[in-house]
């Protein structure tokens, strides 16, 4: 019985990480309808910025995260301006292929510049503490709590930005109808830049947390979590912020249960199978609403 609860805890902590990444994913998709494949790789860049801030500048985790968020916000805006903006009016396939291109560019440029070696955060970067319950049967670490709290806090913040701020209102307008928003005097370019800046900053925060959590980072670290987070975003209904959070938890718990009671070797396969099933039977996700295609 304790094992089951421990597995649920494992799932929630893994799920918070997916949720963190999925938030940015879902936001960018919701507003400009682009699967930003590079999101996981922006997360990786964030992790590296955080790593160098800690390892070279010797700052703590929180300032490192701020640096990473600023750097990646800028990176996100640059990527959008250079690669995605010219394609805003072309086919979705062209935009998707470009996003894949950007993703690989970030991965391999990082390998080129920084070697493919795995790096580890200096020991003691994060003062670790374990809490044991029920005669050591249940374990919770402060890292788990940190990630969970961060994910919830960022979700609330994001929800607030989108629902209650000026820029959030512009974002929602752009997501409804880009042309109409433009006609209503909304600066669409600026809004999209902000979207990318916020989404990428979220990715960077996630990256630093993943780095601290697992203590290791490498140039290809963004691929699998990025894909999993995408699955999470789809499960929750892509474009819906609380949905991404829930999707993340669903994925995390699912994986924990597959590893705990089945075989961890099929964990990734199960994740993708769920994705395909969701896409087939409820493509709008658990929280999504159906909308018909306009003819």
């Amino acid at each position: 019985m304790y094992e089951f609860f421990q597995q649920m805890l494992n799932g929630v902590s893994l799920g918070s990480i997916y949720a963190l990444i999925a938030l940015g994913y879902t936001m960018v998709y919701g507003i400009i309808n682009l699967i930003n494949f590079a999101h996981g790789d922006i997360m990786m860049v964030g992790a590296y910025v955080g790593f160098f801030s800690i390892a070279i500048l010797g700052v703590g985790v929180v300032p490192a995260m701020v640096f990473a968020m600023l750097a990646c916000a800028l990176l996100g805006v640059v990527i959008e301006k250079l690669a995605y903006k010219p394609l805003r009016n072309s086919t979705r396939i062209a935009a998707l292929i470009t996003a894949i291109g950007v993703s690989l560019f970030l991965e391999y440029a990082t390998i080129w510049l920084l070697t493919p070696q795995q790096r580890s955060f200096p020991i003691g970067t994060f003062p670790e503490k374990n809490y044991y319950f029920f005669d050591q049967q249940l374990v919770l670490t402060n890292k788990d709590l940190f990630v969970l709290v961060a994910a919830v806090a960022l979700m609330v913040l994001l929800q607030y930005i989108v629902k209650h701020t000026r820029i959030g209102k512009s974002m929602r307008a752009v997501s409804q109808d880009m042309e109409a928003a433009m006609l209503m005097g909304i600066n669409v370019d600026k809004t999209i830049s902000y979207t990318f800046a916020i989404g990428s900053a979220l990715a960077a925060a996630a990256g630093v947390m993943v780095g601290v959590y697992y203590n290791t980072i490498d140039p290809l670290m963004g691929i699998i979590p990025g894909l999993k987070a995408f699955v999470a975003a789809v499960i929750g209904g892509i474009g819906i912020i609380p949905g991404a959070m829930m999707g993340g938890f669903v994925m995390g718990i699912l994986e924990a249960l597959v590893s705990g009671y089945g075989s961890s070797l099929y964990r990734d396969a199960v994740a993708f199978a769920v994705l395909i099933l969701i896409l087939l039977f409820k493509p709008t996700g658990i929280f999504g609403k159906d909308t018909g295609e306009k003819v």
């Binding site: 699967i35 391999y108 440029a109 493509p283």
Partner: protein
């Protein structure tokens, strides 16, 4: 535009050209005038052409973005290799089984997933590719992660050459027929196609199945040239490699796919010692192509006898498609 009659002149020229190419390389290989390294690249080139041309049917002509082509390739490779290595069948039967297995997989995957549109389809096929990889990874019978070893090297130049020619001819003949036009109409405007009586799902599945069949062929040839196949060889990066060829060459141009496959194979061999540079270059090429020339280098134009006639200023030659701007 399709010719109304079989053009014997063109057929003769094609046959002679192909026969010459075949014989020259056959001679060079048999006499060992080109060494192992160039042979490997020659075979890789042929396999890449099959992959690019077959993916082009799905991505380029039918307009369905598939990121799982390496998955179909691996199904073909494993099936063919198991048939020859474990079950003792002949190479021809192995290759045939590989093609069929891949085509069947294309059909099975195609029917449900093709209800999805655009980027969702892309993600679903990517997921499919990963699932196939994980499954092979966990089957001990085919060697698990370390792969199936000890596959005899049965892919000869003849096999490869004939396979490439058959792939190109079959796909070109499909594309230049009413069935191919139905596929293209799906790409151009799915709603309109459906309303003009084209069963779009059927043609998407057709493209997927035929594309998968030839990917399986490429897989079988690959397995029987490189002695060993591992699940990792058929990951997302290989799907991506093939996609780059198709995108660069022109979505919807078989000639373009061939030229790009050749160019990128040679480039990749040249950048052997700088794998990161190769990938950085690929990704930049992909982004720039999409921004400045989303239809690819060749667009949907084909290099054919008609093109030559036009270059010569042949007055009888019909006007070739002008490029979409």
């Amino acid at each position: 535009m399709v010719t109304k009659k079989l053009n014997w002149t063109h057929l003769t020229i094609s046959t002679v050209t192909l026969a010459v190419i075949f014989t020259v390389f056959q001679y060079l290989i048999a006499r060992q005038l080109i060494d192992v390294y160039y042979q490997i690249n020659l075979f890789m080139l042929g396999i890449n052409i099959i992959l690019a041309v077959s993916l082009n049917l799905i991505n380029g002509f039918t307009g369905q973005l598939s990121l799982g082509h390496a998955g179909f390739m691996s199904v073909g490779a494993y099936t063919a290799a198991v048939m020859t290595t474990k079950l003792g069948y002949s190479f021809a039967i192995g290759i045939g089984a590989g093609c069929l297995a891949a085509a069947l997989m294309g059909l099975l995957i195609g029917i449900p997933t093709l209800r999805l549109k655009g980027d969702y389809l892309a993600i679903a096929t990517l997921g499919f590719g990963e699932i196939v990889r994980v499954v092979f990874l966990n089957i001990e019978y085919v060697g698990g992660a370390s792969g199936l070893i000890g596959i005899p090297q049965l892919t000869t130049w003849t096999w490869l050459f004939v396979s490439v020619v058959v792939t190109v001819v079959v796909i070109q003949n499909i594309v230049n027929s009413s069935y191919g036009r139905a596929c293209i109409s799906v790409r151009e405007n799915e709603v309109a196609a459906e309303l003009m009586g084209v069963n779009t799902t059927k043609y998407k599945v057709l493209a997927f199945t035929v594309g998968a069949l030839f990917a399986g062929l490429a897989g079988g040839l690959y397995a029987h040239y490189f002695f060993i196949i591992q699940p990792g060889t058929f990951g997302f990066f290989r799907s991506f490699d093939i996609l780059v060829m198709v995108v660069l060459g022109g979505l919807g141009s078989t000639t373009g796919a061939i030229v790009a496959a050749a160019f990128l194979t040679v480039l990749s061999a040249g950048l052997q010692s700088f794998p990161e540079v190769r990938m950085v270059l690929y990704s930049v090429v992909l982004i720039i192509t999409m921004i400045y020339r989303p239809q690819g280098l060749m667009g949907n134009k084909e290099l054919s006898f008609r093109t030559f006639q036009r270059i010569r200023g042949d007055k009888n030659g019909p006007v070739v498609n002008r490029e979409p701007v």
